[in-house]
């Protein structure tokens, strides 16, 4: 924008005038300052502390509170089998639950977008899993999959299958965790995709109908391409939360620490062992992973345009 027109400039301005009628530049700073202060306090400062800690030995239980150790924490991490197992588990959750909730969410969104009478209650029901706290979902599904008291084994037995001790097996536990996560997160995907679906003009489908396109062709040629921007937004959010998976895997523990995720491993080192240096190094890794993922998605968005 241009500077204010000349006739608005008073020859001499008191500080009161300047505050009540600031120039654009001053106004910009005035408006930005609260946000800058706020972001510095809640984002920049903690992130800087985290990075500082990751280069120091901050083991509160060993009485170490800040000896500089350079990259030692990162070197330990590279040789730490538990860290790699946590990364592997986290990646499994990302690779299974992100596409899983996208597909389930898309199906739910299409359903909710259909013209039928009781749409209101259905859309409300769609929101329910999204509104539920993650830890509750984890605890509820942990009971579902409990080997003696769980509903899943009850159904298996009724259908003539062998009951399984789900939480005795890392594979079965990961399955249970993924099912719970997909159930929980699909409604968020559905919500964003539903908003996307509603922006697609009905005239496009009518025209396709006239040209004799099948429902499937309409879906692949009209719905999907026009939904890509909403999908990308939903996927970025979903992938980031999947990388940070904590609540559900934490409330549904498998044998030992076989199904520990990266966030759980960070929590264990920070809260249980009070090893703030090492847990900060782990958190820095997670941070890098999140940034890299976002960057890849954003590149894809720009490349597409």
């Amino acid at each position: 924008m241009n500077a204010a027109p000349r006739y608005m400039e008073a020859p001499r301005r008191s500080w009161l005038d300047r505050v009540s009628d600031p120039s654009e530049k001053v106004l910009a700073w005035m408006l930005l300052t609260p946000a800058i202060v706020f972001m510095t306090a809640i984002v920049a400062y903690p992130v800087a502390t985290l990075i500082w800690n990751s280069f120091h030995d901050v083991r509160l239980l060993a009485g170490q509170s800040g000896r500089f150790v350079g990259l030692e924490n990162f070197a330990l991490l590279m040789q730490d089998a538990q860290f790699w197992r946590a990364v592997r588990n986290t990646m499994i959750i990302v690779l299974v639950t992100v596409p899983g909730s996208l597909i389930a969410g898309l199906a739910l969104a299409m359903l909710a977008n259909m013209p039928f009478k009781s749409r209101g209650p259905i859309r409300l029901a769609l929101l329910l899993p999204w509104a539920m706290p993650l830890a509750f979902v984890g605890l509820i599904f942990a009971w579902f999959f409990h080997s003696e008291y769980g509903i899943v084994n009850d159904l298996l037995v009724r259908m003539g299958f062998e009951p399984r001790i789900w939480f005795n097996s890392p594979t079965l536990t990961m399955m249970a965790i993924c099912i719970a996560t997909i159930w929980k997160t699909s409604s968020f995907m559905a919500l964003i995709l539903l908003a996307g679906l509603q922006t697609i003009p009905a005239s496009l489908y009518e025209a396709a109908e006239v040209d004799g396109a099948s429902k499937w062709t309409q879906f692949t040629q009209i719905t999907l391409p026009l939904l890509v921007p909403s999908m990308l937004v939903a996927l970025i959010f979903r992938t980031l939360t999947a990388i940070q998976s904590f609540d559900i895997p934490y409330s549904m523990p498998g044998p030992g620490e076989e199904t520990q995720t990266l966030a759980m491993y960070i929590h264990m080192n920070a809260v249980d062992y009070l090893d703030l240096g090492y847990s900060s190094a782990l958190a820095v890794c997670m941070f890098i992973l999140s940034i890299a993922t976002t960057w890849i998605y954003l590149r894809y968005v720009r490349g597409d345009k």
Binding site: E148, I165, F167, S169, P170, G256, V271, D272
Partner: protein, 419 residues
């Protein structure tokens, strides 16, 4: 203008000096776990508040297991939260609390009575709560693991109380085969990765003479550890313990025994009161309790437990909190806890109390067991060591790892913790 200002100043001064008078009520908050019978403690605190009208104590309950309990306190105390004044901590934790600076040393608050008060407690509990010469906490109650058994079933089949683990397995097998009750378990123990599982693992290991840490250095006997893991694993494989034992925590064992579904159970002292007087108990009058069995060629050992009261280093009312802790760790309270919650006193004198012996007759024989109980490793790095043991014990019980694989990881993790 001068006079009103002067008047205002006087008024303010009056208000300022009046405040302490109205705020003389001291509010204390004590934190304890749900398994430690807060109902009983609350009723004891009523007496305390009646005797100390200036003090109001509220009890905050949290932590279904020792780990969750600790996790909550870690979070609150790392944040230097002032809202909790006194807390109950597991007997394995004073070293950690001292290292982290979370517990206010009590010596100054005990004054001249310090030595007399400390002398009251059993030696194991006195030393467990003393770190580098400082009294970090005072014992609230002592504990040990015992073998609970169904007296009625053993009598029915004319079997003795087992003194070794293989004998227990044989008797359990015989009774399970004869009873043909699919809901009856031969033995229930803690296979879930909870603190109790550390003890479960250590019982046979100690029975054979093994140690974990000696003078801050690792001393781990693979052969004895493997014998322990194999023994427990065999209990599961032979169908004496249930297949999902890896899901069973301390209070699950208690509940299942109480529901009449368990023949032998390993549990702490608190279970007795639930078995005998719990509202839904099916085993009242049918319960026996004895020392734990030994490994063949080993001795009968048990794991010492118990919880201690400490004063928060961040409390704003440390003197009052210390006074409260002194009350909660006094012989009078220990007697009530024994009678109403079957919690073992940490003082020898209370075991001879006739009212206590009337409520919990088996306490007469419990004192020597408590006194000879083995303590889990004492080190500020206890938590990672505990994790190494219980996590790996749990994976073996779940059948995910072989005992040998588990032992490799135990050794690796203990070494790393003590680096």
């Amino acid at each position: 203008m001068r006079m009103p200002a002067f008047g205002l100043a006087v008024l303010l001064l009056a208000l300022a000096t009046a405040r302490p008078v109205s705020a003389q009520q001291v509010e204390l908050r004590a934190f304890m776990g749900g398994q430690h019978r807060p109902d009983v403690v609350r009723s004891l605190l009523k007496d305390y508040m009646a005797a100390n009208p200036g003090v109001k104590v509220t009890v905050e309950v949290g932590g279904a297991t020792s780990e969750l309990h600790q996790r909550y306190l870690s979070t609150v105390l790392t944040a230097r939260d002032e809202s909790i004044d006194a807390f109950l901590i597991d007997i394995i934790r004073p070293a950690q609390f001292a290292a982290a600076g979370w517990a206010e040393p009590l010596d100054a608050y005990l004054g001249d009575e310090r030595d007399a008060i400390r002398a009251r407690y059993l030696e194991g509990y006195r030393t467990a709560n003393t770190v580098n010469g400082k009294t970090i906490a005072l014992p609230g109650f002592a504990d040990a693991m015992f073998l609970y058994y169904r007296k009625d079933l053993l009598e029915k089949y004319g079997e003795p109380v087992p003194t070794t683990w293989p004998e227990l397995a044989r008797i359990a097998r015989k009774i399970l085969d004869a009873e043909r009750d699919p809901n009856l378990q031969g033995l229930s123990f803690q296979g879930k990765a909870v603190e109790g599982a550390v003890c479960t693992f250590l019982l046979p290991y100690w029975s054979l003479g093994g140690e974990i840490v000696r003078d801050g250095k690792m001393s781990f006997d693979r052969t004895k550890a493997e014998a322990s893991l194999n023994m427990w694993r065999a209990m599961v494989d032979q169908g004496i313990a249930k297949r999902n034992i890896a899901e069973v925590g301390t209070d699950d064992t208690r509940k299942e025994f109480q529901a009449g579904r368990v023949l032998f159970a390993i549990n702490w002292g608190y279970a007795w009161n639930h078995f005998q007087t719990g509202a839904d108990t099916r085993v009242a009058g049918k319960v026996g309790v004895v020392r734990l069995p030994a490994m063949p060629g080993g001795k009968s050992v048990t794991c010492s437990g118990g919880w201690s009261w400490a004063v928060s280093a961040f409390s704003r009312n440390k003197a009052e909190a210390a006074k409260l802790v002194r009350y909660l760790t006094s012989p009078a309270v220990a007697e009530q806890l024994a009678i109403r919650a079957s919690q073992h006193p940490a003082m020898a004198e209370v075991y001879a109390d006739p009212d206590v012996l009337k409520a919990v007759p088996w306490f007469a024989d419990a004192l020597p067991v408590i006194e000879t109980a083995y303590a889990r490793p004492v080190t500020p790095m206890y938590r990672p060591i505990s994790d190494a043991l219980r996590i790996n014990f749990n994976t073996v019980m779940a059948g995910v790892r072989t005992p040998r694989e588990a032992l490799d990881e135990i050794e690796h993790r203990i070494k790393r913790a003590l680096r």
